[in-house]
């Protein structure tokens, strides 16, 4: 079959060229439809319970994605001075004019209300800062006012008085980058010496998308260029370089075109597909071309030679293709959609590269001019001499075999040390850390979280269990009124209820009928009496369901707030009790002694009715639903680290275990920081599955390939050592285990087994004819050079990533280069060391003889 394919390619080289070109162009045509996705939420499936809950909470409490703009004045008087406040005022007004923001929810000193005493018995509601202060005295009055409002202090102005913030809610987070740029424009026109910073998850995500887009346009071509130059250095032959490059380009363009054309968004991981595929795609065609040049003699029919070459290389190439692809395809076992897409398309790309190699490269050779064939041959013969690699590789070989015990000892020690390192791995991710430490977003994040209670949100939601059914006694009592009204000739049948009827909605329906909003006729006097009777019944039930008016429940929340604040993990907790107590204080004496909860639920309701009589009545619904059955406790955290969030969750779990929730309430978490925890957990367990299963599959394949368990085990050694070593290193240097790091495990597996396959395959061939020692020494000639060259090509192909402005790219670049280096080294040192030991040499010799 392999010959049929090769013959077809050789005889229809024009067709092969045309098909490759057409398919590539067709797929390229889809690339402009690219959509970038940087939302960490998409790490979870759309129907993931945590994500569904998060989005329900977001809607229920109208929580918008927020851009945080901070102004910092480090002088002694801080931000409370006329110049700073005027600039802040002007900035806030300017932002309100921008498109794409939710104006009514912007939080800034000039858009919020103050509630104060204006003399004994007089209460005053007004804008907190309608006009910016013009004197220092006015500025200080503003400071005193802010410090009296617990909802605003340390949220709008930092506790140290040095910084003020504007919270800008955006209609769609996809526009955050544009809005942030427009805000930067306003800032540059301000007459202010203060430092301004912009942060917030939507800006970070959107900005990341923009930079990722640029990065894709730069990194992939750069990687291509680096590989091209390196291959030129090795081979000094245009045809030897052009053929593989065409395969690599076509692989990358077709794979990306298909990904986009099939409607997948380009996520941080899939943006790296091009960079991953390019070096992998180059390797096989280089193999074919070198071997072809090696065997070809002038005057021969190149087509016959190429058929022989492919016949010889087909099986090892197929195996390395399958093993590399398995590493990536195993990522489809993780529960994280972007990682699955990444794995699937790279796996596909690896197979595509294989197909292109065996079809396109023969066609390419068959169309080469005799002069080109000759120059290519010259290039290969130059390589025979070996150059620098040829000089030091045999030394490596002697070191490995001569000092085998030292090599084994060092390897085992390193292995043990690495295992310890793995136990030290910290699982943690934070999208803001995807930027470099000196990026303006990281700087803003650091500065603002230094001053304020925290720009990261976690939402603890308390609620009455859904579907709290009405008692049968009540339903019967209520429906009896309706049937009695019916006897009097008044038809109230549409208002009948069951135990599952939502009474809040039913109260509205009865009230609608009272005011005949649906019909044209006003309810008659007779009817009103019956409707009122029904409404009074329902009201009694509703009063019991409005749990978040209960002073007992509010006081439980308030205790939790105090507890969380005392823990150092939480910067600030905003919740309904703060609103109630503040309004109550001002309604009463205005003194601190009245900063307390009213004694009755009606007192709470009436204080809140006053809170709603402000410029921003809708603010109340960020903390409680209008039916008072769910409430949101807003925690401000100073970091977006998963570990931080996990500790907070544990803290709350423990507290609730000791202090049970009142009134049968239930609780749950929402907010981006929490979602990150969920998908990180899913990723870690998913990666373990993926790694173990691909390890098993690769092992089985190795046993099949070598028809020997012993050789199968040997082939697994380099990758086992490399993975252990790389993750041990991550543990020891304290680099957080984040998404790119997690994905690398699969990669290591796929790539480092390649070296072992090539090494053992060649060793086995040599061993059939020669003594163990001779065979091993020869391994460090041509075979050793091929392995080293491939390792260098792949490692260098990834180096452009080191210059990327985004941390995940740098991480991948560094670790891939290390993986290549480590697995090439382990292959060239550890395998010969083991093979040269007498026992092993004899055993492998027997295995070979029995296999052949």
């Amino acid at each position: 079959m392999k010959q049929t394919i090769t013959r077809f390619a050789l005889e229809h080289s024009r067709t092969v060229y045309a098909v490759v070109l057409l398919v590539t162009l067709a797929c390229m045509a889809m690339i402009p439809f690219l959509t970038i996705d940087t939302d960490p939420e998409n790490m979870l499936r759309e129907d993931d319970p945590a994500r569904v809950f998060h989005n329900r909470v977001k809607q229920q409490f109208t929580m918008h994605d927020m851009i945080v703009v901070g102004a910092v004045n480090n002088s002694e008087q801080g931000i409370y001075n006329p110049t700073s406040l005027q600039a802040l005022h002007q900035l806030s007004k300017g932002i309100l004019e921008l498109d794409g923001i939710v104006r009514s929810d912007q939080m800034s000193l000039d858009t919020v209300d103050n509630i104060t005493q204006e003399g004994p018995g007089v209460i005053r509601f007004e804008w907190l800062m309608q006009d910016a202060p013009t004197t220092q005295q006015q500025s200080e009055q503003l400071r005193d006012a802010v410090n009296r409002l617990p909802m605003l202090a340390n949220t709008l102005v930092s506790g140290d008085g040095k910084a003020a913030a504007i919270y800008v809610p955006v209609e769609s987070k996809d526009e955050s980058y544009r809005i942030a740029e427009e805000i930067r424009g306003i800032i540059s026109s301000l007459q202010s010496q203060d430092d301004f910073h912009i942060t917030g998850l939507p800006v970070a995500e959107d900005q990341f998308g923009v930079e990722m887009f640029i990065q894709m346009g730069i990194s992939a071509p750069l990687a291509g260029l680096a590989i091209f130059m390196l291959m030129w250095m090795f081979f000094r032959s245009i045809p030897l370089v052009v053929g593989p490059m065409v395969v690599a380009m076509a692989t990358v363009l077709i794979t990306m075109g298909l990904l986009i054309g099939m409607g997948f968004t380009v996520h941080i991981m899939s943006s790296m597909i091009a960079i991953f595929l390019m070096p992998i795609a180059v390797v096989d065609s280089t193999h074919i071309l070198s071997e072809f040049a090696d065997r070809f003699r002038p005057g021969e029919d190149p087509k016959k030679v190429i058929i022989k070459v492919l016949d010889h290389l087909f099986t090892p190439m197929l195996y390395t293709t399958i093993t590399s692809a398995i590493g990536f395809l195993s990522l489809m076992l993780t529960p994280i959609p972007p990682v699955r897409i990444f794995g699937a398309f790279i796996g596909f790309g690896i197979f595509l590269a294989f197909v292109l190699t065996i079809v396109y490269i023969p066609a390419y050779i068959s169309r080469m001019k005799p002069e080109s064939l000759e120059s290519m041959q010259d290039a290969i013969h130059r390589l025979e001499g070996g150059g620098r690699l040829g000089r030091w590789l045999p030394k490596v070989g002697r070191m490995a075999t001569g000092g085998r015990y030292a090599v084994l000892l060092v390897s085992l020690t390193l292995f043990a040390v690495s295992v310890v390192g793995i136990t030290k791995i910290q699982i943690n991710d934070n999208p803001v850390n995807w930027f470099k430490a000196d990026h303006e977003i990281r700087v803003a994040d650091r500065v603002l979280n230094d001053h304020f209670a925290g720009t990261y949100d976690a939402w603890l939601v308390l609620e009455r269990p859904s579907g709290s059914a009405s008692s049968k006694a009540f339903v019967d009592q209520y429906n009896k009124v309706i049937s009695e009204a019916g006897k009097q000739g008044i038809d109230l049948i549409p208002l009948q209820i069951t135990d599952e009827t939502n009474l809040y909605e039913m109260a509205t329906a009865i009230d609608d009928r009272l005011f005949s909003s649906s019909g044209l006729l006003e309810a008659g006097d007779e009817e009103i009496v019956w409707l009122e009777e029904l409404l009074v019944l329902v009201e009694v039930q509703l009063e019991q369901s409005r749990v978040f008016q209960s002073p007992e429940v509010l006081s439980w929340i308030s205790d939790l707030q105090d507890y969380l604040l005392s823990s150092d993990l939480v910067g600030k907790v905003n919740a309904l009790p703060d609103v109630v107590r503040t309004v109550n204080r001002e309604l009463q004496s205005g003194n601190d002694k009245d900063f307390r909860l009213p004694v009755t639920a009606n007192g709470v309701a009436q204080a809140l009715l006053q809170y709603q009589s402000s410029h921003r009545p809708q603010d109340l619904w960020h903390f409680v639903t209008p039916d008072y059955t769910s409430s949101l406790v807003w925690l401000q955290l100073t970091s977006g680290d998963n570990q931080h969030m996990t500790q907070v969750v544990e803290l709350v779990d423990n507290y609730i275990a000791r202090n049970p929730l009142p009134a049968g309430l239930e609780y749950g978490w929402a907010g981006k920081a929490y979602l990150n925890v969920i998908w990180q957990d899913a990723m870690v367990s998913g990666m373990v599955d993926s790694l173990l299963s691909s390890f098993a599959v690769v092992f089985v394949m190795m046993v099949l390939l070598f028809r020997s368990v012993k050789f199968g085990l040997l082939a697994m050694l380099p990758l086992t050592f490399t993975i252990t070593f790389i993750y041990g290193l991550i543990g020891w240097i304290g680099k957080d285990y984040d998404m790119p790091i997690a994905v690398l495990s699969a990669l290591t597996l796929g790539l480092s087994v390649d070296f072992a396959i090539h090494f053992l395959q060649r060793y086995r061939e040599l061993r059939k004819e020669k003594e163990n020692e001779v065979a091993l020494a020869e391994m460090f000639e041509e075979p050793g050079r091929a392995i080293t060259r491939n390792a260098i090509v792949i490692a260098v192909g990834f180096t452009p990533l080191l210059f990327a402005p985004l941390v995940p790219y740098i991480t991948v670049g560094i670790f891939l280069a290390s993986i290549m280096a480590a697995s090439a080294l382990v292959t060239l040192l550890l395998l010969p060391a083991i093979l040269s030991s007498r026992v092993s040499g004899q055993v492998s010799g027997q295995a070979l003889r029995s296999a052949s």
């Binding site: 309100l96 009514s104 109260a507 009230d511 009272l514 006003e522 409404l535 009063e543 006053q610």
Partner: protein
Amino acid sequence: MKVLSLFAAAALAVSSFQMVQAADLTSADEIVKQANIASYYAGKDGRAEARMKIIDAQGRNQLRQFTILRRSRKPGGEQDLMVFFSRPSDVRNTVFRVVRHPGADDDRWLYLPGLDLVKRISAGDKRTSFVGSDFFYEDVSGRNPSEDNHKLLETAGEYYVLESKPVDPKSVEFVSYKSWISKATLLPMKVEYTDSRGKIYRTMEVVKVDTIQGHPTVLQAQISNLERGSKTLMQMRGVKYDIGLPQDIFGERSLRKPPQQWLKK
């Protein structure tokens, strides 16, 4: 002028036959003055049961039900007003008391039974939400016509169309508003508020008008906040004029002891 209002609603127009003009009015200020009287001064006194249905952007409802008693000392002049809340039940017996002083700040008081508290509310901003609805306090009590400069834009159809701009732009959140005042009843039937970006962000529409005891009266009106996506429908029932409300029930004493005989239908 002012826009609808609770009281537009409770609307006590000056006697309506005076208002049906044989010829169109040509002075913007005169139209606004008459609209104010039509909206807020119908009858010598009056009573209405009202409810507000506040509907937020997600379609969730809140209800407010209350009874209004009103007595004008003279048409277009000082006026007493009390609002007694009956629903939701948790705010039952909360009372607002207002004494309107045209041309000066109103006096406002508040009684909260749950806190057993009578509080005076400082004069100050009147464009804050009325009990969480999309109506402003000022929509309920009436905006003083002299606070805006009015310009007559159109008289062609059945409405006078006016554009009004605040005398003191800092005191309000709008840059201008445009009103459609019915020539027949002199009630503003629609008002659109425009913000600094030139966008209409708030509207008032009269949904239902009826003539009660000769006074054209707004029975249903809706204010929409286009920015928030919320709206409030206010509905009236049991509107009666000239029921002979005594002046002394409008005192502070009625905050804690509502005049029950006048609240019942």
